[in-house]
Structure formats: structure tokens, C-alpha cells
Amino acid sequence: MMDILYFAWVRERIGLPKERVTTDAATVADLVAELSAREERYAMAFSDLSALRVAVDQELTDFNAPLAGVREVAFFPPMTGG
């Protein structure tokens, strides 16, 4: 069981801010493939990974990051704070 969070336009495209999933995905990339296969709105949100950033358990990482033991994954566009 893992929480998946979406922010900014990723949240808007997928249509929800957070969901709980059960997955055997070994890496973030595997999880993205699994979600993209689900529904068109996921496939669209994940269509260009270079426009996305990912955090695993609230730490920025990349799409090769392993998911073993992970409780929270978040997808969002490049940040625009400040």
C-alpha cells in the first residue's frame, strides 16, 4: 500500500490530489507504466516525463528510484517557488 500524490497540473490532469494504490512496481518508472496503462488521463499526465519531477517519501529523486518499503510517491511539474 502506497500513497500517490499529484500536484499542480499533474493533479488537474489526473483529476485527484491523492490516491492509495497497491502495487508491485519495483521502481518509479514501473509505477508510471502501471498507472499510464490504467486510463487515458494518467497516460496523458505521464506522456512527457522530462516535464515531471518525482519525490519518494518526500525526497526529490528520479524515475529509476526503487519503491521497496516506500510509503509515499509524489508527481509534479518543475517547482516554481520563491
Binding site: 500524490l5 500536484f7 499542480a8 497540473w9 493533479r11 519525490a55 518526500q58 525526497e59 526529490l60 509524489a74 509534479f76 511539474p77 518543475p78 517547482m79 516554481t80 517557488g81 520563491g82
Partner: protein, 146 residues
Amino acid sequence: MRIVVQDAPFDLGVESEAFAAGRHDMGAIVTFTGVVRDTADDLDVMEIEHYPGMTEKALTAIAEEAMQRWNLGDVLVIHRYGRLVPGDRIMMVATASPHRRDAFEAADFLMDYLKSRAPFWKKEHGKGGTDWVAAKDEDEDALSRW
């Protein structure tokens, strides 16, 4: 070190004064304040979304890195989220150091990292419609300075 993430406004004057107060060992204090800008007179609302939990962690990590890299007595970071209007202050950082170069560089560093590594996203609501602010290449490039 103090990290604040809030939707409420902050008082720049009160925060600056409080940050500087009572330090006899710090000769240099730098503050940076970010203001919602409306150059073309077409922005109604700037909406700031963030990632509760990660935001505080990311800002704390950036501030701790600054404390390690420069000779600093203190660091303050305040960042708002929610709905802001032109003229509102979005955020501020402050650094205190014995020396002016450290205070300047650390504040500059904090801003560069906060722009591209803290989980905030801006959405503009204006006469031209509603749009997420795109990250700028120059902001990402700025990180290579450090």
C-alpha cells in the same frame, strides 16, 4: 534557524526587526523579499500550491546546507501558500553573518534553491485566463553557480 510555511500574511518589518534583534556578534544582515508582481496589470490572483510535509523538509534542508557552507549565525525562511494578490509578499529569507560576503552569498543561494527545489507551484489567474507558471531554464541553471 526558523522555517515558516503559512497561508497567512507575514509582516516584513516585524520579521526583519525580530531577526536582527539582539545580535552583537553578527555584523551583516541580508533579507530578500519576494513580492507578487503584476507588470502588465492583468494579474488578479496568484495561487500557490505546495506539498505539506515535504515543503518544510525541503526548506529545512536548504537552510541547513546554507548554514554549513557559509559562516552564518542564523537563517530565516518564510514562504506563503494559498491565494495572493499583486503587491502581497510571497516569501522572505534572511541571513545573519559576521561578514557581508557570507550574508549576501547565503541569501542568494537560499533563493536559487528555494526557486527550483522547494515544492511550490504558482498558478496565475488573470484577464488572460488561468495558467500554471512554467519553470524557467535560467532558474535551473542558477543552481550550477553553487
